[in-house]
């Protein structure tokens, strides 16, 4: 065969190429035959499989643990409720679908779009919750239209329910869906989108205990998202219960007594510090906004000038008023500025640093020792103490009794309060402390700020003759701090520790205040030996208050009462604050009296 480029004999390779092509052709024919088998002969089998196609994991939400009071009554329960979710990939015509669903759920289209947009980062096949907290009768019309609206999924979920309505609302707190950033910030908590977690109160404090472990159902879902069966199920585990120290009877009475006012009632177990009652008014019903969508109700509460969502017991900052005279008395006696017998004469007014200062009792109390001064809440006596004690000594006594720092109660968001000192003024106001300011502090005014919880803890500390008591809500709190020695832990302020004689002298004044015609007489309970101290806090400057008083105009003051009973081996501490309640003796003391009375009756019952 000649080697010729133009007339090269290519027949051999061309024949081989043809052979390969025919092999390819045969393979294609065989493949086509297999398609015939699958599509025609086995069509029914695959058509059925296509109908019931996919297994999908559905989260079975774990019910939260219950919250109970000390007698086992349920404060926070769960009830069955329904939620409706939207699966975006099943939406055929978005505009029509949105309109139909909005009409079905009774919400407007913009709201619905907003709820979906909130979760637009989810995969298209993941359901987005668009309505929740529904009753069975609400979801019946939705269920009946399942075929037309395959994008809707109706599921039941356990929902928080507070059987007492607003009872102990500030203790229990409320639930909310955390913002996405917060979920991402703490991935170890495994909060799934749409899950409600505790935002305040016990619900927040013990959220990790109360939250259970979610279960899962592996369901076979057909191409329209309809559930066709279940392949496996992992049952959810309910969260653990939390038992509180709250006493339902005292709690109810505390709330009843505050009805229509703003204020706080706290009752503590004097021995353990367990909180028997904690009411903060105004309050709210947490049942009203247990939903992911809390527009109107929620914003109304948030913008209410009376701040019903705030727990005033731990977040309200008030001047302690005459309650602070207890601290002054402890400091004066304990640090040797006066003895129990030192006598001061009250003529109704006195001149200090060139200004006339009045006692609240214009005719004057006459000659008084420390115990009398506490009983009558005499300003003149404590002005005198304030003139002799440096502010830092007063601050040391206040610090020992727990003011100026959190009580470490097991509730989130507690405030520190403020006990002024020379250093504090220099640091924050860049000015020296003036002795005249000490005079205001001596009767519980000036920059002093306390929370009612701090006052309750202070009272418990005096009742325990120096035993440290930490207020708490969890009944089985292992960390119930107690220091059995009088005077508590060795003071680090270089001043002598408080002796039990000091406590007894102050307590004698508190007893007299309630039982010997003192300012706290309204809290008296027959044969229960209530000891207490009243306070009226000026909410305006002292000068203008005195001017108004002289003019016979009513002075709006916050009224305090804080006390314990009985005098020996105290069982209960009660602290009452009523905002703008007028005199502490007239308003707050009777409220405390009713709590003491109820508690005493409870003790007498077998």
């Amino acid at each position: 065969m000649p080697e010729n480029r133009i007339y090269e004999d290519l027949s051999l390779v061309q024949r081989r190429a043809n052979i390969v092509f025919w092999i390819v052709s045969v393979l294609i024919a065989l493949a086509l035959g297999y398609y015939w088998k699958v599509q025609i002969l086995e069509h029914k089998k695959y058509a059925d499989l296509s109908e019931a196609n996919r297994t999908r994991m559905r989260v079975l939400a774990a019910p939260r643990g219950l919250i109970r009071d000390r007698r086992g009554g349920i404060l926070a329960d769960n009830k069955a409720s329904f939620k409706v979710s939207l699966i975006r990939e099943n939406v055929k015509d978005e505009a029509a679908s949105t309109a139909a669903i909005a009409r079905l759920l009774g919400i407007d289209e913009a709201t619905l779009r907003g709820r979906v947009a909130l979760r637009k980062d989810l995969q298209a096949f993941e359901p987005i919750v668009i309505a929740d907290g529904l009753e069975a009768q609400d979801v019946a019309p939705i269920e009946s239209r399942r075929l037309e609206l395959p994008e809707l999924v109706v599921e039941s979920e356990p929902q928080r329910f507070y059987p007492g309505g607003g009872l102990a609302a500030h203790v229990l707190g409320y639930l909310q869906e955390p913002p996405p950033e917060e979920i991402q910030a703490r991935p170890e908590r495994k909060v799934r989108p749409g899950e409600l977690v505790g935002r305040t109160g016990i619900e927040r404090q013990y959220d990790d205990v109360l939250r259970g472990r979610d279960g899962a159902a592996y369901e076979v879902v057909d191409s329209l998202g309809r559930v066709r069966g279940e392949t496996a199920r992992q049952f959810p585990i309910q969260g653990r219960d939390v038992v509180l120290t709250l006493d339902p009877v005292l709690q109810a009475e505390a709330e009843r007594s505050l009805e229509g006012r703003e204020g706080v009632v706290i009752a503590l177990d004097a021995e353990t510090g367990g909180i028997l009652a904690l009411a903060s008014f105004p309050t709210y019903d947490p049942n009203r906004f247990i939903t992911r969508f809390t527009q109107a109700e929620w914003s109304a509460l948030m913008s209410d000038p009376l701040a019903p969502l705030e727990n005033r017991a731990i977040r309200g900052l008030y001047a302690p008023g005459s309650i602070f005279k207890l601290v002054m008395a402890m400091a004066g006696l304990g640090f040797g500025y006066v003895t129990a017998d030192t006598s001061v004469y009250c003529s109704g007014a006195t001149e200090i640093y060139g200004a006339i200062r009045h006692c609240w009792f214009a005719p004057g109390h006459g000659a008084m020792n420390l115990t009398d001064a506490i009983r009558n809440s005499c300003n003149i006596y404590f002005y005198g103490l304030g003139r002799r004690m440096p502010i830092d000594t007063i601050a040391a006594a206040a610090g020992r009794l727990g003011l100026g720092r959190r009580t470490e109660v097991d509730l989130d968001g507690e405030k520190d309060g403020l006990v002024p000192s020379e250093k504090w003024k220099k640091d924050t106001l860049k000015a020296p402390w003036y002795p005249g300011e000490t005079i205001s502090v001596a009767i519980g005014q000036g920059p002093l700020q306390v929370t009612p919880m701090q006052v309750a803890a202070l009272t418990a500390r005096i009742a325990g003759r120096g035993r440290v008591v930490r207020p708490h809500l969890l009944r089985d709190d292992a960390a119930v701090a107690s220091a059995p020695t009088a005077g508590g832990p060795a003071p680090s302020d270089g001043l002598p520790p408080f002796t039990s004689a000091t406590y007894e002298a102050v307590i004698a004044g508190m007893w007299g205040s309630v039982n010997e015609g003192g300012t706290g007489a309204g809290a008296r309970v027959e044969s229960f030996d209530v000891c207490g101290k009243t306070g009226s806090t000026q909410t305006m400057s002292r000068e203008s208050a005195e001017r108004l008083a002289r003019a016979g105009r009513p002075v709006k003051t916050h009224s305090w009462f804080s006390g314990f009973a009985p005098r020996v081996r105290p069982r209960i501490v009660v602290t009452v604050l009523v905002e703008f309640g007028g005199g502490g003796g007239a308003t707050a003391a009777p409220v405390a009296g009713r709590i003491f009375d109820l508690f005493k009756k409870g003790l007498e019952r077998p």
Binding site: A47, S50, E89, N90
Partner: protein
């Protein structure tokens, strides 16, 4: 030489070109059906790629294939360099180093390597006139193909590597294999296969092979795609569920439905009739390509037409067998129909070479 004169234009195989465009447009239609609810307008992008493919094809047609063959040695060196660079520099895309970024353009050198291999083999075998392959020549060809092949396996891009093996095997068949050589090559392949299985293959790749034998063994993992795809095809029946109404593909039970699994969408939405039409048209296209070999003016031309046709045919066959569960899922696209620029460009250039050889069958050197 650069200009195409009127006489040459008349020699273009318009039927083949029409078949190519027809398949491409069928692809666009079903890419639309399976992605219209997704952002990104995939079908528009595919149309742009088809336009670019046609431009590339015109460029390939404008130059005599002899010129490409003559330069194939340089192309080869360049593509080996690119593959090495890809391995070294390319950022990891989905666990495989198969993409390299050149300025604004992302290219897949392994796709380029397929074209280069066609040209290099045409050159290697152009002067090879004996009826059967000799050992020295076989080993030489194996070495030439082996270097890029190893680099591609290292990426690892098993699908392209497999296509490579098919082209090399096809070229050997064309050059003529004796029984002894066939047995030796099979033994070598077997040895490499067993060795590669035990040390070379990743777990997920092994799983794909075992899944072929028992897809139900792993219904949520690698068997998932095959099961879903088979359900899609089988549920299509004779006439299909209708355009845009495939529940499997529309509801996204089917993964990669606009790329590797586009034919499943066709099977589901147009049924066996649609499958039959597409396969028959594809057969016509392949026949037109393969049978052009008879019109080649020289040996290099025959090799080009044959290997290019085999490239398309192999990918077509593997894809349509893969999606119905007769072949492991190896990530081989369906030429012309699947979404994706790189594979589309490769297919158009390969067809351009076939058209080029056929068009210049009377040309004087």
């Amino acid at each position: 030489m650069m200009m195409i004169d009127r006489r040459l234009v008349g020699e273009i195989d318009w039927v083949l070109l029409a078949l190519i465009l027809l398949q491409s447009l069928i692809g666009v239609v079903f890419i639309y059906s399976s992605t219209n609810f997704l952002p990104g307008a995939f079908y528009v992008r595919q149309l742009i790629w088809i336009g670019l493919g046609l431009l590339a094809m015109m460029f390939v047609l404008a130059i005599d294939y002899k010129f490409f063959v003559a330069l194939s040695g340089y192309f080869y060196g360049l593509v080996v360099l690119l593959l090495v660079a890809t391995l070294v520099f390319a950022r990891l895309v989905a666990g495989t180093k198969s993409w390299i970024t050149l300025g604004l353009m992302q290219i897949q050198p392994s796709e380029l390597a397929k074209i280069v291999l066609i040209l290099v083999f045409a050159r290697l075998f152009a002067e090879y006139k004996s009826a059967y392959l000799k050992t020295a020549h076989t080993l030489g060809a194996l070495a030439v193909a082996g270097v890029p092949l190893v680099l591609i396996i290292a990426q690892p891009d098993l699908g392209t590597a497999m296509t490579f093996v098919a082209i090399v095997g096809g070229a050997f068949v064309l050059a003529g294999l004796r029984k002894k050589a066939v047995i030796l090559l099979l033994l070598a392949a077997l040895g490499l296969g067993v060795g590669g299985w035990t040390i070379g293959l990743k777990d997920y790749q092994k799983k794909r092979v075992t899944t072929l034998i028992n897809p139900a063994g792993d219904p949520r993992g690698s068997g998932y795609q095959v099961i879903q795809s088979k359900i899609a095809i089988g549920s299509g029946g004779l006439a299909g569920k209708g355009f845009g109404k495939g529940t499997q593909s529309q509801l996204r039970f089917l993964p990669a439905r606009h790329t590797d699994f586009i034919f499943s969408v066709i099977g589901e939405e147009t049924g066996f009739l649609g499958v039959l039409v597409v396969i028959v048209l594809y057969f016509a296209l392949l026949a037109r390509m393969f049978l052009s070999a008879a019109k080649a003016r020289d040996r290099a031309g025959v090799y080009i037409i044959f290997t290019a046709s085999l490239l398309i045919a192999f990918q077509f066959l593997v894809n349509i067998l893969m999606i119905i569960g007769l072949f492991p899922v190896v990530g081989i696209t369906l030429p012309f129909l699947s979404y994706g620029g790189s594979s589309l460009l490769t297919s158009y250039v390969a067809c351009g070479l076939v058209l080029n050889v056929r068009m210049r069958r009377f040309a004087n050197v």
